[in-house]
Symmetry: C2
Protein backbone atom coordinates (compact mmCIF):
# COMPACT_ATOMS: atom_id res chain seq x y z
CA UNK A 1 0.00 0.00 0.00
CA UNK A 2 1.23 3.48 -0.89
CA UNK A 3 0.72 6.57 1.26
CA UNK A 4 1.64 10.07 0.09
CA UNK A 5 2.28 12.97 2.49
CA UNK A 6 2.08 16.49 1.05
CA UNK A 7 3.92 17.97 4.05
CA UNK A 8 7.16 17.15 5.79
CA UNK A 9 7.49 15.18 8.98
CA UNK A 10 10.57 14.74 11.12
CA UNK A 11 13.03 11.89 10.61
CA UNK A 12 12.15 10.20 13.89
CA UNK A 13 8.45 10.44 13.01
CA UNK A 14 9.03 8.74 9.66
CA UNK A 15 11.16 6.11 11.36
CA UNK A 16 8.33 5.36 13.80
CA UNK A 17 5.84 5.07 10.92
CA UNK A 18 8.08 2.72 8.93
CA UNK A 19 8.66 0.57 12.01
CA UNK A 20 4.99 0.43 12.95
CA UNK A 21 3.74 -0.16 9.38
CA UNK A 22 6.40 -2.23 7.57
CA UNK A 23 4.02 -3.14 4.70
CA UNK A 24 3.33 0.45 3.80
CA UNK A 25 5.41 2.64 1.48
CA UNK A 26 5.43 6.27 2.68
CA UNK A 27 6.28 8.95 0.10
CA UNK A 28 6.49 12.72 0.37
CA UNK A 29 5.96 15.61 -2.02
CA UNK A 30 5.57 19.34 -1.72
CA UNK A 31 4.34 19.64 -5.30
CA UNK A 32 1.22 17.54 -5.78
CA UNK A 33 0.41 19.23 -9.10
CA UNK A 34 3.55 17.88 -10.83
CA UNK A 35 3.73 14.45 -9.18
CA UNK A 36 2.45 11.17 -10.66
CA UNK A 37 -0.10 10.18 -8.02
CA UNK A 38 -2.03 7.30 -9.57
CA UNK A 39 -0.52 4.75 -7.21
CA UNK A 40 -1.54 6.31 -3.88
CA UNK A 41 -4.42 4.82 -1.89
CA UNK A 42 -3.99 7.37 0.92
CA UNK A 43 -3.01 11.05 0.79
CA UNK A 44 -2.14 12.91 4.00
CA UNK A 45 -2.51 16.66 3.47
CA UNK A 46 -3.31 19.97 5.14
CA UNK A 47 -6.09 20.15 2.54
CA UNK A 48 -5.42 23.26 0.51
CA UNK A 49 -3.52 21.37 -2.25
CA UNK A 50 -6.41 19.02 -3.07
CA UNK A 51 -8.07 20.29 -6.27
CA UNK A 52 -10.45 18.68 -8.79
CA UNK A 53 -7.46 18.25 -11.10
CA UNK A 54 -5.56 16.36 -8.39
CA UNK A 55 -8.58 14.12 -7.76
CA UNK A 56 -8.79 13.34 -11.49
CA UNK A 57 -5.26 11.99 -11.46
CA UNK A 58 -5.43 10.25 -8.06
CA UNK A 59 -7.21 7.27 -9.51
CA UNK A 60 -6.33 4.87 -6.66
CA UNK A 61 -7.18 7.36 -3.89
CA UNK A 62 -9.53 5.90 -1.28
CA UNK A 63 -8.75 7.92 1.88
CA UNK A 64 -7.94 11.60 2.32
CA UNK A 65 -6.42 12.27 5.73
CA UNK A 66 -6.71 16.02 6.32
CA UNK A 67 -4.35 17.27 9.03
CA UNK A 68 -6.42 20.35 9.79
CA UNK A 69 -9.68 21.08 11.53
CA UNK A 70 -11.55 22.81 8.67
CA UNK A 71 -12.24 21.36 5.20
CA UNK A 72 -14.56 24.05 3.82
CA UNK A 73 -12.18 25.10 1.02
CA UNK A 74 -11.78 21.57 -0.40
CA UNK A 75 -13.68 20.21 -3.47
CA UNK A 76 -16.17 18.40 -1.27
CA UNK A 77 -18.70 17.54 -3.99
CA UNK A 78 -16.08 15.71 -6.09
CA UNK A 79 -14.74 13.92 -3.03
CA UNK A 80 -18.24 12.73 -2.19
CA UNK A 81 -18.91 11.68 -5.80
CA UNK A 82 -15.80 9.54 -5.93
CA UNK A 83 -16.64 7.84 -2.64
CA UNK A 84 -13.34 8.89 -1.08
CA UNK A 85 -13.23 8.45 2.70
CA UNK A 86 -12.20 11.66 4.43
CA UNK A 87 -11.03 12.22 8.01
CA UNK A 88 -9.55 15.20 9.80
CA UNK A 89 -7.93 16.13 13.12
CA UNK A 90 -10.98 17.64 14.78
CA UNK A 91 -10.11 18.30 18.44
CA UNK A 92 -6.40 18.88 17.80
CA UNK A 93 -6.72 22.48 19.00
CA UNK A 94 -8.30 21.76 22.35
CA UNK A 95 -5.07 21.00 24.20
CA UNK A 96 -3.04 24.08 23.18
CA UNK A 97 -6.08 26.35 23.53
CA UNK A 98 -7.02 25.10 26.98
CA UNK A 99 -3.38 25.36 28.07
CA UNK A 100 -3.29 28.94 26.78
CA UNK A 101 -6.42 29.88 28.71
CA UNK A 102 -5.05 28.39 31.93
CA UNK A 103 -1.66 30.01 31.31
CA UNK A 104 -3.22 33.47 31.13
CA UNK A 105 -5.49 32.91 34.14
CA UNK A 106 -2.70 31.57 36.36
CA UNK A 107 -0.12 34.08 35.15
CA UNK A 108 -2.38 36.99 36.13
CA UNK A 109 -3.47 35.37 39.39
CA UNK A 110 0.09 34.67 40.48
CA UNK A 111 1.26 38.13 39.26
CA UNK A 112 3.88 36.81 36.84
CA UNK A 113 3.97 40.00 34.72
CA UNK A 114 4.69 41.97 37.92
CA UNK A 115 7.48 39.57 38.88
CA UNK A 116 9.01 39.83 35.39
CA UNK A 117 8.95 43.64 35.56
CA UNK A 118 10.58 43.60 39.01
CA UNK A 119 13.27 41.24 37.78
CA UNK A 120 14.17 43.65 34.95
CA UNK A 121 14.76 46.32 37.60
CA UNK A 122 16.70 43.80 39.75
CA UNK A 123 14.12 44.55 42.41
CA UNK A 124 13.48 42.09 45.29
CA UNK A 125 9.97 43.01 46.38
CA UNK A 126 7.81 40.47 48.16
CA UNK A 127 4.77 42.77 48.39
CA UNK A 128 3.06 41.45 45.29
CA UNK A 129 -0.71 41.01 45.09
CA UNK A 130 -1.45 37.39 44.33
CA UNK A 131 -4.61 35.38 44.61
CA UNK A 132 -5.73 31.77 44.26
CA UNK A 133 -7.70 30.29 41.40
CA UNK A 134 -9.24 27.68 43.73
CA UNK A 135 -12.87 28.33 44.71
CA UNK A 136 -13.50 30.85 41.97
CA UNK A 137 -16.22 30.61 39.35
CA UNK A 138 -15.82 30.50 35.57
CA UNK A 139 -18.49 31.03 32.93
CA UNK A 140 -17.63 29.29 29.68
CA UNK A 141 -19.41 30.54 26.59
CA UNK A 142 -19.42 27.61 24.16
CA UNK A 143 -18.78 24.46 26.20
CA UNK A 144 -17.99 22.24 23.19
CA UNK A 145 -14.78 20.22 22.71
CA UNK A 146 -12.49 23.16 23.51
CA UNK A 147 -14.72 24.73 26.15
CA UNK A 148 -15.13 21.41 27.94
CA UNK A 149 -11.38 20.83 27.97
CA UNK A 150 -11.01 24.27 29.59
CA UNK A 151 -13.72 23.24 32.05
CA UNK A 152 -11.96 19.98 32.85
CA UNK A 153 -8.73 21.76 33.73
CA UNK A 154 -10.51 24.49 35.70
CA UNK A 155 -12.34 21.87 37.74
CA UNK A 156 -8.99 20.25 38.57
CA UNK A 157 -8.03 23.63 40.07
CA UNK A 158 -11.20 23.62 42.19
CA UNK A 159 -13.09 26.13 40.02
CA UNK A 160 -16.86 26.02 39.65
CA UNK A 161 -17.73 25.89 35.95
CA UNK A 162 -20.90 27.24 34.35
CA UNK A 163 -21.40 26.49 30.68
CA UNK A 164 -23.49 28.73 28.45
CA UNK A 165 -24.82 27.69 25.05
CA UNK A 166 -27.86 28.34 22.90
CA UNK A 167 -29.94 25.41 24.10
CA UNK A 168 -28.80 25.19 27.71
CA UNK A 169 -28.09 21.49 27.10
CA UNK A 170 -25.68 20.01 29.65
CA UNK A 171 -22.03 19.75 28.65
CA UNK A 172 -18.97 17.84 29.86
CA UNK A 173 -17.06 19.29 32.82
CA UNK A 174 -19.64 21.99 33.46
CA UNK A 175 -21.18 22.07 36.94
CA UNK A 176 -24.23 23.52 35.27
CA UNK A 177 -25.24 24.91 31.91
CA UNK A 178 -27.47 27.87 31.08
CA UNK A 179 -28.88 29.32 27.86
CA UNK A 180 -27.64 32.44 26.08
CA UNK A 181 -30.75 34.30 27.24
CA UNK A 182 -29.89 33.61 30.90
CA UNK A 183 -26.48 35.28 30.56
CA UNK A 184 -27.36 38.44 32.50
CA UNK A 185 -28.38 36.43 35.54
CA UNK A 186 -25.18 34.33 35.73
CA UNK A 187 -22.59 36.97 34.78
CA UNK A 188 -22.57 38.57 38.27
CA UNK A 189 -21.31 35.26 39.72
CA UNK A 190 -18.36 34.74 37.37
CA UNK A 191 -14.75 35.58 38.19
CA UNK A 192 -13.79 34.50 34.66
CA UNK A 193 -15.92 34.90 31.54
CA UNK A 194 -14.32 32.80 28.81
CA UNK A 195 -15.64 32.64 25.26
CA UNK A 196 -14.64 30.00 22.73
CA UNK A 197 -17.77 30.58 20.64
CA UNK A 198 -17.58 30.34 16.85
CA UNK A 199 -18.98 33.12 14.70
CA UNK A 200 -22.65 32.39 13.93
CA UNK A 201 -25.80 34.43 13.63
CA UNK A 202 -26.51 33.61 17.29
CA UNK A 203 -23.10 34.71 18.60
CA UNK A 204 -22.27 37.84 16.59
CA UNK A 205 -22.68 40.80 18.92
CA UNK A 206 -23.95 38.48 21.66
CA UNK A 207 -22.27 40.60 24.34
CA UNK A 208 -23.20 44.25 24.71
CA UNK A 209 -22.79 47.03 27.29
CA UNK A 210 -25.32 45.45 29.65
CA UNK A 211 -23.30 42.25 29.88
CA UNK A 212 -20.11 44.01 30.89
CA UNK A 213 -22.08 46.12 33.37
CA UNK A 214 -23.38 42.88 34.88
CA UNK A 215 -19.90 41.37 35.33
CA UNK A 216 -17.97 41.69 38.60
CA UNK A 217 -15.56 44.63 38.67
CA UNK A 218 -12.92 42.02 39.47
CA UNK A 219 -13.84 39.73 36.57
CA UNK A 220 -11.46 38.67 33.83
CA UNK A 221 -12.95 38.49 30.33
CA UNK A 222 -11.27 36.17 27.82
CA UNK A 223 -12.16 35.95 24.15
CA UNK A 224 -10.61 32.92 22.44
CA UNK A 225 -13.49 32.34 20.02
CA UNK A 226 -14.21 34.97 17.40
CA UNK A 227 -13.73 38.74 17.49
CA UNK A 228 -17.26 39.60 16.40
CA UNK A 229 -18.69 38.37 19.74
CA UNK A 230 -18.47 41.97 21.04
CA UNK A 231 -17.76 45.36 19.49
CA UNK A 232 -14.27 46.58 20.27
CA UNK A 233 -15.63 49.95 21.42
CA UNK A 234 -17.80 48.26 24.06
CA UNK A 235 -14.79 46.31 25.30
CA UNK A 236 -12.59 49.43 25.42
CA UNK A 237 -15.24 51.30 27.43
CA UNK A 238 -15.71 48.44 29.91
CA UNK A 239 -11.96 48.20 30.47
CA UNK A 240 -11.44 51.97 30.71
CA UNK A 241 -14.34 52.41 33.13
CA UNK A 242 -13.21 49.59 35.41
CA UNK A 243 -16.32 47.52 34.82
CA UNK A 244 -14.02 44.52 34.62
CA UNK A 245 -10.49 44.02 35.91
CA UNK A 246 -8.74 42.58 32.88
CA UNK A 247 -9.30 41.17 29.40
CA UNK A 248 -7.24 38.59 27.54
CA UNK A 249 -7.98 38.70 23.82
CA UNK A 250 -6.82 36.17 21.26
CA UNK A 251 -9.33 37.30 18.61
CA UNK A 252 -10.42 40.73 17.41
CA UNK A 253 -13.06 42.42 15.27
CA UNK A 254 -10.28 43.16 12.80
CA UNK A 255 -7.14 41.00 12.53
CA UNK A 256 -4.30 41.86 12.60
CA UNK A 257 -5.39 44.32 15.31
CA UNK A 258 -4.91 47.77 13.68
CA UNK A 259 -2.10 49.91 15.10
CA UNK A 260 -4.62 52.64 15.98
CA UNK A 261 -6.75 50.33 18.16
CA UNK A 262 -7.16 51.66 21.68
CA UNK A 263 -6.75 48.13 23.00
CA UNK A 264 -2.97 48.16 22.49
CA UNK A 265 -2.40 50.85 25.08
CA UNK A 266 -4.77 49.75 27.87
CA UNK A 267 -2.78 48.35 30.76
CA UNK A 268 -5.53 45.92 31.75
CA UNK A 269 -5.57 44.05 28.44
CA UNK A 270 -3.42 41.18 27.23
CA UNK A 271 -3.16 40.98 23.44
CA UNK A 272 -2.54 37.51 22.02
CA UNK A 273 -2.26 37.65 18.19
CA UNK A 274 -4.65 34.73 17.48
CA UNK A 275 -2.02 32.15 18.46
CA UNK A 276 -3.74 30.32 21.32
CA UNK A 277 -4.24 27.18 19.23
CA UNK A 278 -0.66 27.08 17.92
CA UNK A 279 1.57 24.27 19.07
CA UNK A 280 5.04 22.98 18.31
CA UNK A 281 3.50 19.53 18.76
CA UNK A 282 0.92 19.97 15.97
CA UNK A 283 2.41 17.46 13.51
CA UNK A 284 3.05 14.95 16.31
CA UNK A 285 -0.62 15.18 17.32
CA UNK A 286 -1.82 14.97 13.71
CA UNK A 287 0.25 11.81 13.25
CA UNK A 288 -1.41 10.32 16.32
CA UNK A 289 -4.81 10.81 14.65
CA UNK A 290 -3.41 9.35 11.42
CA UNK A 291 -1.79 6.23 12.86
CA UNK A 292 -4.83 5.31 14.93
CA UNK A 293 -6.86 5.40 11.72
CA UNK A 294 -4.17 3.67 9.66
CA UNK A 295 -4.39 0.65 11.96
CA UNK A 296 -8.13 0.52 11.33
CA UNK A 297 -7.66 1.04 7.59
CA UNK A 298 -5.25 -1.90 7.34
CA UNK A 299 -7.76 -4.09 9.13
CA UNK A 300 -10.40 -3.15 6.56
CA UNK A 301 -12.28 -1.07 9.13
CA UNK A 302 -13.64 2.04 7.37
CA UNK A 303 -15.28 3.49 10.49
CA UNK A 304 -12.42 5.91 11.00
CA UNK A 305 -12.14 8.36 13.87
CA UNK A 306 -12.98 11.97 13.00
CA UNK A 307 -14.61 10.97 9.76
CA UNK A 308 -15.91 13.83 7.61
CA UNK A 309 -19.06 13.49 5.59
CA UNK A 310 -17.99 15.42 2.47
CA UNK A 311 -21.58 16.26 1.54
CA UNK A 312 -22.11 18.00 4.90
CA UNK A 313 -18.57 19.33 5.21
CA UNK A 314 -18.18 18.18 8.86
Amino acid sequence: MNVLFTFKIKDHQLEALTNDFPDIQFSFTKDLANEPIAQYEVIVTYGEDITSEVLDRATALKWLMVASAGVEKMPLAEIAERGIVMSNVRGIHKTPMAESVLAHILSEGRALPVLHAQQKRKEWNMKVRQTELRSSTALILGPGAIGSEIGRLLQAFGVETIGCNRSGASADFMDKTVQFNELLSVLPHADFVISVLPSTSATRGLLNESHFAAMKNTAMFMNFGRGDLVKESILVDALSNGEIRHAVLDVFEQEPLPAESKLWALDNVTISPHVSSHSGKYVERALEFFTRNLVKWQQGDRELLNIIEPKRGY
Copy 2:
Protein backbone atom coordinates in the same frame (compact mmCIF):
# COMPACT_ATOMS: atom_id res chain seq x y z
CA MET B 1 -17.09 30.56 75.42
CA ASN B 2 -14.55 33.27 74.64
CA VAL B 3 -12.22 33.27 71.64
CA LEU B 4 -9.45 35.83 71.16
CA PHE B 5 -7.90 36.61 67.77
CA THR B 6 -4.51 38.31 67.76
CA PHE B 7 -4.89 39.34 64.10
CA LYS B 8 -7.56 41.15 62.15
CA ILE B 9 -10.14 39.50 59.96
CA LYS B 10 -12.52 41.17 57.53
CA ASP B 11 -15.98 42.34 58.55
CA HIS B 12 -17.77 39.74 56.44
CA GLN B 13 -15.58 37.02 57.93
CA LEU B 14 -16.47 38.08 61.48
CA GLU B 15 -20.12 38.25 60.49
CA ALA B 16 -19.94 34.68 59.19
CA LEU B 17 -18.30 33.50 62.42
CA THR B 18 -20.88 35.22 64.61
CA ASN B 19 -23.70 33.76 62.54
CA ASP B 20 -22.27 30.24 62.55
CA PHE B 21 -21.30 30.26 66.24
CA PRO B 22 -23.89 32.38 68.07
CA ASP B 23 -22.84 31.07 71.51
CA ILE B 24 -19.25 32.20 71.13
CA GLN B 25 -17.87 35.64 71.93
CA PHE B 26 -15.12 36.62 69.47
CA SER B 27 -12.66 39.32 70.57
CA PHE B 28 -9.65 40.86 68.86
CA THR B 29 -6.40 42.38 70.03
CA LYS B 30 -3.14 43.38 68.42
CA ASP B 31 -1.44 43.75 71.79
CA LEU B 32 -1.59 40.49 73.68
CA ALA B 33 1.04 41.65 76.20
CA ASN B 34 -1.20 44.41 77.57
CA GLU B 35 -4.55 42.66 77.37
CA PRO B 36 -6.36 40.88 80.22
CA ILE B 37 -6.59 37.35 78.77
CA ALA B 38 -7.69 35.18 81.67
CA GLN B 39 -11.14 34.60 80.20
CA TYR B 40 -10.11 33.13 76.82
CA GLU B 41 -10.46 29.39 76.22
CA VAL B 42 -9.18 29.71 72.65
CA ILE B 43 -6.53 32.00 71.16
CA VAL B 44 -6.18 32.29 67.38
CA THR B 45 -2.71 33.61 66.49
CA TYR B 46 0.05 33.61 63.91
CA GLY B 47 2.17 32.26 66.80
CA GLU B 48 4.95 34.77 67.29
CA ASP B 49 3.11 36.66 70.08
CA ILE B 50 2.71 33.61 72.34
CA THR B 51 5.35 33.87 75.08
CA SER B 52 5.77 32.15 78.47
CA GLU B 53 4.51 35.35 80.05
CA VAL B 54 1.35 35.24 77.93
CA LEU B 55 0.78 31.60 78.84
CA ASP B 56 1.12 32.48 82.55
CA ARG B 57 -1.75 34.96 82.29
CA ALA B 58 -3.92 32.89 79.92
CA THR B 59 -5.23 30.75 82.77
CA ALA B 60 -8.34 29.54 80.90
CA LEU B 61 -6.50 28.75 77.66
CA LYS B 62 -7.20 25.25 76.37
CA TRP B 63 -6.65 25.55 72.59
CA LEU B 64 -4.05 27.47 70.62
CA MET B 65 -5.06 27.78 66.99
CA VAL B 66 -1.90 28.78 65.09
CA ALA B 67 -2.66 30.26 61.66
CA SER B 68 0.76 29.42 60.26
CA ALA B 69 2.57 26.31 59.12
CA GLY B 70 5.60 26.48 61.43
CA VAL B 71 5.53 26.57 65.25
CA GLU B 72 9.25 26.16 65.97
CA LYS B 73 9.63 29.60 67.59
CA MET B 74 6.82 29.06 70.12
CA PRO B 75 7.34 28.06 73.80
CA LEU B 76 6.49 24.45 73.05
CA ALA B 77 7.67 22.98 76.35
CA GLU B 78 5.37 25.24 78.38
CA ILE B 79 2.47 24.59 76.02
CA ALA B 80 2.97 20.85 76.45
CA GLU B 81 3.29 21.18 80.23
CA ARG B 82 0.00 23.05 80.53
CA GLY B 83 -1.79 20.49 78.35
CA ILE B 84 -2.89 23.10 75.87
CA VAL B 85 -4.22 21.65 72.61
CA MET B 86 -2.42 23.13 69.62
CA SER B 87 -3.38 23.03 65.93
CA ASN B 88 -2.04 24.78 62.88
CA VAL B 89 -2.84 25.31 59.19
CA ARG B 90 -0.48 22.72 57.76
CA GLY B 91 -1.23 22.37 54.04
CA ILE B 92 -2.41 25.96 53.60
CA HIS B 93 0.49 26.67 51.22
CA LYS B 94 -0.08 23.82 48.83
CA THR B 95 -2.74 25.55 46.74
CA PRO B 96 -0.92 28.85 46.05
CA MET B 97 2.42 27.07 45.57
CA ALA B 98 1.05 24.51 43.13
CA GLU B 99 -0.77 27.28 41.25
CA SER B 100 2.49 29.25 41.07
CA VAL B 101 4.39 26.27 39.68
CA LEU B 102 1.74 25.64 37.03
CA ALA B 103 1.58 29.36 36.23
CA HIS B 104 5.30 29.49 35.45
CA ILE B 105 5.26 26.24 33.45
CA LEU B 106 2.28 27.24 31.33
CA SER B 107 3.37 30.85 30.92
CA GLU B 108 6.73 29.74 29.46
CA GLY B 109 5.17 26.98 27.36
CA ARG B 110 2.59 29.28 25.84
CA ALA B 111 5.19 32.08 25.42
CA LEU B 112 3.33 34.68 27.50
CA PRO B 113 6.45 36.79 28.21
CA VAL B 114 7.05 36.99 24.44
CA LEU B 115 3.44 38.03 23.85
CA HIS B 116 3.67 40.71 26.54
CA ALA B 117 6.88 42.10 24.99
CA GLN B 118 5.27 42.17 21.53
CA GLN B 119 2.24 43.96 22.92
CA LYS B 120 4.42 46.72 24.37
CA ARG B 121 5.81 47.31 20.87
CA LYS B 122 2.24 47.13 19.42
CA GLU B 123 3.55 44.28 17.32
CA TRP B 124 1.18 41.71 15.77
CA ASN B 125 3.43 38.71 15.23
CA MET B 126 1.96 35.22 15.04
CA LYS B 127 5.35 33.51 14.69
CA VAL B 128 5.76 32.68 18.34
CA ARG B 129 7.30 29.42 19.53
CA GLN B 130 4.79 27.65 21.72
CA THR B 131 4.59 24.08 22.91
CA GLU B 132 2.18 21.85 24.81
CA LEU B 133 2.52 20.67 28.36
CA ARG B 134 0.59 17.47 27.57
CA SER B 135 2.70 14.31 27.24
CA SER B 136 5.74 15.80 28.93
CA THR B 137 7.45 14.38 32.00
CA ALA B 138 8.01 16.07 35.35
CA LEU B 139 10.35 15.00 38.11
CA ILE B 140 9.18 16.25 41.51
CA LEU B 141 11.80 16.39 44.23
CA GLY B 142 9.90 16.12 47.49
CA PRO B 143 6.47 14.65 46.69
CA GLY B 144 4.90 15.55 50.05
CA ALA B 145 1.72 17.63 50.52
CA ILE B 146 2.89 20.41 48.21
CA GLY B 147 4.71 18.19 45.72
CA SER B 148 1.72 15.87 45.42
CA GLU B 149 -0.61 18.79 44.79
CA ILE B 150 1.73 19.87 41.98
CA GLY B 151 1.66 16.27 40.73
CA ARG B 152 -2.15 16.16 40.84
CA LEU B 153 -2.42 19.27 38.66
CA LEU B 154 0.31 18.12 36.26
CA GLN B 155 -1.45 14.78 35.80
CA ALA B 156 -4.64 16.66 34.91
CA PHE B 157 -2.61 18.25 32.10
CA GLY B 158 -1.52 14.80 30.89
CA VAL B 159 1.98 15.00 32.35
CA GLU B 160 3.85 11.91 33.57
CA THR B 161 4.99 12.50 37.15
CA ILE B 162 8.03 10.95 38.79
CA GLY B 163 8.48 11.61 42.49
CA CYS B 164 11.88 11.54 44.13
CA ASN B 165 12.42 11.27 47.87
CA ARG B 166 14.94 9.78 50.25
CA SER B 167 13.24 6.42 50.71
CA GLY B 168 11.70 5.97 47.27
CA ALA B 169 8.37 5.32 49.03
CA SER B 170 5.38 5.82 46.74
CA ALA B 171 3.57 9.15 46.94
CA ASP B 172 0.19 10.53 45.88
CA PHE B 173 -0.20 11.62 42.26
CA MET B 174 3.20 10.27 41.23
CA ASP B 175 3.25 7.71 38.41
CA LYS B 176 6.34 6.34 40.06
CA THR B 177 8.78 7.28 42.81
CA VAL B 178 12.55 6.91 42.95
CA GLN B 179 15.18 7.46 45.64
CA PHE B 180 17.58 10.39 45.82
CA ASN B 181 20.43 8.08 44.77
CA GLU B 182 18.60 7.20 41.53
CA LEU B 183 18.42 10.84 40.47
CA LEU B 184 21.05 10.66 37.74
CA SER B 185 19.19 7.87 35.96
CA VAL B 186 15.80 9.66 35.86
CA LEU B 187 16.97 13.23 35.17
CA PRO B 188 17.51 12.59 31.41
CA HIS B 189 13.79 11.81 31.06
CA ALA B 190 12.43 14.95 32.72
CA ASP B 191 11.16 18.02 30.87
CA PHE B 192 10.56 19.68 34.24
CA VAL B 193 12.64 19.21 37.38
CA ILE B 194 10.70 20.73 40.26
CA SER B 195 12.02 20.86 43.82
CA VAL B 196 9.87 21.60 46.86
CA LEU B 197 12.37 19.96 49.23
CA PRO B 198 12.93 21.42 52.69
CA SER B 199 16.44 22.14 53.91
CA THR B 200 17.78 19.07 55.68
CA SER B 201 21.14 17.33 55.90
CA ALA B 202 19.98 15.06 53.05
CA THR B 203 18.93 17.88 50.71
CA ARG B 204 21.62 20.55 51.20
CA GLY B 205 23.77 20.52 48.08
CA LEU B 206 21.84 17.51 46.74
CA LEU B 207 22.19 18.79 43.17
CA ASN B 208 25.66 19.32 41.70
CA GLU B 209 27.19 19.81 38.24
CA SER B 210 26.60 16.19 37.25
CA HIS B 211 22.85 16.52 37.80
CA PHE B 212 22.54 19.54 35.53
CA ALA B 213 24.71 17.80 32.93
CA ALA B 214 22.29 14.86 33.07
CA MET B 215 19.22 17.02 32.44
CA LYS B 216 17.79 17.58 28.95
CA ASN B 217 19.06 20.73 27.26
CA THR B 218 15.39 21.62 26.92
CA ALA B 219 14.57 21.01 30.60
CA MET B 220 13.12 23.61 32.94
CA PHE B 221 14.48 23.56 36.49
CA MET B 222 12.26 25.00 39.23
CA ASN B 223 13.33 25.51 42.81
CA PHE B 224 10.41 26.26 45.13
CA GLY B 225 11.88 24.50 48.18
CA ARG B 226 15.04 25.91 49.72
CA GLY B 227 17.96 27.75 48.13
CA ASP B 228 20.66 25.50 49.59
CA LEU B 229 19.59 22.60 47.35
CA VAL B 230 22.21 23.73 44.81
CA LYS B 231 25.06 26.24 44.79
CA GLU B 232 24.20 29.38 42.86
CA SER B 233 27.45 29.14 40.87
CA ILE B 234 26.49 25.67 39.59
CA LEU B 235 23.11 26.97 38.53
CA VAL B 236 24.61 30.02 36.79
CA ASP B 237 27.03 27.78 34.86
CA ALA B 238 24.31 25.32 33.79
CA LEU B 239 22.14 28.20 32.56
CA SER B 240 24.99 30.03 30.82
CA ASN B 241 26.25 26.88 29.11
CA GLY B 242 22.82 25.87 27.84
CA GLU B 243 22.73 22.65 29.85
CA ILE B 244 19.11 23.47 30.63
CA ARG B 245 16.65 25.76 28.86
CA HIS B 246 15.29 27.80 31.74
CA ALA B 247 15.15 28.04 35.52
CA VAL B 248 12.38 29.44 37.70
CA LEU B 249 13.67 30.22 41.17
CA ASP B 250 11.55 31.16 44.16
CA VAL B 251 14.32 30.47 46.69
CA PHE B 252 18.01 31.34 46.77
CA GLU B 253 21.20 30.58 48.65
CA GLN B 254 21.00 34.12 49.98
CA GLU B 255 17.72 36.02 50.33
CA PRO B 256 17.04 38.71 49.30
CA LEU B 257 19.04 37.79 46.20
CA PRO B 258 22.06 40.15 46.28
CA ALA B 259 22.17 42.85 43.59
CA GLU B 260 25.49 41.46 42.36
CA SER B 261 24.10 37.96 41.71
CA LYS B 262 24.64 36.86 38.13
CA LEU B 263 21.17 35.30 38.15
CA TRP B 264 19.47 38.69 37.76
CA ALA B 265 20.86 39.26 34.29
CA LEU B 266 20.48 35.82 32.72
CA ASP B 267 17.67 35.87 30.18
CA ASN B 268 16.76 32.22 30.82
CA VAL B 269 15.95 32.67 34.51
CA THR B 270 12.75 33.80 36.17
CA ILE B 271 13.29 35.33 39.60
CA SER B 272 10.38 35.01 42.02
CA PRO B 273 11.22 36.70 45.35
CA HIS B 274 10.10 33.82 47.61
CA VAL B 275 6.42 34.64 47.09
CA SER B 276 5.09 31.42 45.58
CA SER B 277 3.17 30.53 48.74
CA HIS B 278 1.62 33.97 49.17
CA SER B 279 -2.09 34.33 48.70
CA GLY B 280 -4.70 37.02 49.08
CA LYS B 281 -6.93 34.22 50.35
CA TYR B 282 -4.64 33.23 53.24
CA VAL B 283 -6.88 34.41 56.09
CA GLU B 284 -9.95 32.97 54.40
CA ARG B 285 -8.22 29.57 54.17
CA ALA B 286 -6.94 29.79 57.77
CA LEU B 287 -10.49 30.50 58.95
CA GLU B 288 -11.67 27.39 57.11
CA PHE B 289 -9.22 25.31 59.16
CA PHE B 290 -10.33 27.12 62.32
CA THR B 291 -14.08 26.78 61.87
CA ARG B 292 -13.87 23.08 61.02
CA ASN B 293 -12.04 22.58 64.30
CA LEU B 294 -14.30 24.94 66.22
CA VAL B 295 -17.29 22.75 65.36
CA LYS B 296 -15.43 19.75 66.78
CA TRP B 297 -14.33 21.71 69.84
CA GLN B 298 -17.89 22.73 70.68
CA GLN B 299 -18.96 19.10 70.45
CA GLY B 300 -16.27 18.17 72.96
CA ASP B 301 -14.22 16.44 70.25
CA ARG B 302 -10.53 17.11 70.93
CA GLU B 303 -9.26 15.14 67.93
CA LEU B 304 -8.74 18.32 65.95
CA LEU B 305 -7.50 18.45 62.35
CA ASN B 306 -3.84 19.45 61.96
CA ILE B 307 -3.12 18.87 65.60
CA ILE B 308 0.43 19.66 66.72
CA GLU B 309 2.16 17.61 69.35
CA PRO B 310 4.01 20.41 71.20
CA LYS B 311 6.70 18.03 72.48
CA ARG B 312 7.61 17.04 68.91
CA GLY B 313 6.91 20.43 67.36
CA TYR B 314 4.89 18.99 64.45
